[in-house]
Symmetry: C2
Subunit: 237 residues, 2 copies
């Protein structure tokens, strides 16, 4: 077992925070499946792999074996899975899907991760998030994306400054039922944040307002569920 | 400010666990919206309301004012909202929807809560969960259901013992695309758990196997998203 220096441990722990991830251009992934998926199926550069479970040594002979106590310190999870890797945030993904997903003020990391996973499933490989959305390298985003984060290009920008070259469909409450709306193959789908929906300053960009009609009761649908229903419809058309 | 006895505090804290919720037939709800919703729109009996934020006293003059420290102790949340209520688990809900949702081995409380919220939105008022599914009075279920838990009848039973009086559609990977399947108005929709899908012992009950085709990549969809897509389709038909 290698003894990992205290400064190295501190360095890894610093990557729990967006500020340091941005500075170092590195982020953490955890769990056997996620690390395997990244190594095999993605073009992501893995800098180091740390394991506290010796069983993983066979699959990752290049990894650094550490103690459970050390893993507890560097892990982002309450119950560490025993394997953690440091990866480069500089991911090269070529996009080809006709639909681009726009996310405005997404705050919940679980939602962003689930939306990335759903987008990948439906063949959407490009997401633009407003700058005030949650960081896609947040450990909870990585976890709930179930490895799909490495297959979808995620960019942060001022959404009201996008160079619009195809129509934008915006999801609103109580507007045109989505299934009565003609959908262009080349388009943007814009989803608003959990609490306030699409911000007003983006409204003038929207060509078609659509919604998922309520049949029963409730104030709203969960954002990942609503995005899933719409992405499914848009990609089936 | 009332001084709440230590034994009372202990009693409330005991309701964080299913065992004690079952014994006492009581559970905890938190957050202004949730408590308001429960008081106004549901038939649920609220036993006590505790607040640590004086602002809420106007809306709930009958509530018991406690200190922030006390709230920290009894709250199920990391950052308590300042209002917590103790409610009876004996909820009377009359069901009338033609579709009944069956959930087999749902383990994630966030998923169950989101599914309940989605079911309510699409007018489904009856869910049967396998006995090994997560407890619907788990604080995380309550939170992610966003108040919808009081509008949907949730029962726990041996799913393979249900008295089947309508066809069962079961969600599987790589089976018939759901949109090519004729859907009966009166039916069951069965969704399997996060890790293993529908357990084998239920397979003989299923009349139609359906799936959400993958267009892009990934191992699976998130369970709440998949349930949302299917519930939307089943209730639109």
């Amino acid at each position: 077992m290698e003894k990992v220096s205290i400064s190295k441990m501190k360095f890894i722990k610093s990557l729990h925070l967006k500020k340091h991830r941005d500075e170092e251009k590195l982020f953490i992934i955890e769990g056997l499946k996620c690390v395997e998926e990244t190594k095999i199926h993605s073009s992501i550069y893995i800098k180091d792999i740390y394991i506290s479970n010796k069983e993983f040594l066979e699959t990752f002979p290049e990894s650094i074996l550490i103690s459970n106590k050390e893993m507890d310190k560097i892990s982002t999870q309450k119950t560490p899975s025993g394997i953690l890797a440091i990866c480069s945030t500089e991911i090269q993904i070529k996009t080809k899907s006709k639909l681009t997903l726009l996310l405005d003020q997404i705050r919940d990391p679980g939602n962003l991760g689930t939306i990335i996973r759903t987008a990948a499933w439906f063949g959407i490989d490009h997401i633009l998030c407003s700058k005030d959305s949650v960081d896609c390298f947040n450990p909870k985003v990585i976890q709930s994306s179930m490895g799909s984060i490495f297959q979808v290009k995620i960019e942060y920008c001022d959404l009201h400054l996008i160079k619009k070259n195809k129509p934008i469909y915006g999801a609103y409450m109580n507007s045109t039922p989505y299934f009565t709306q003609k959908i262009e193959k080349e388009c943007y789908l814009l989803m608003g944040g959990e609490s306030n929906g699409i911000t007003q300053e983006l409204e003038h960009l929207i060509d078609y307002k659509i919604s998922i009609p309520k049949i029963g009761i409730g104030e709203s649908l969960n954002l990942s569920v609503a995005t899933g229903i719409l992405l499914n419809y848009f990609t089936l058309k």
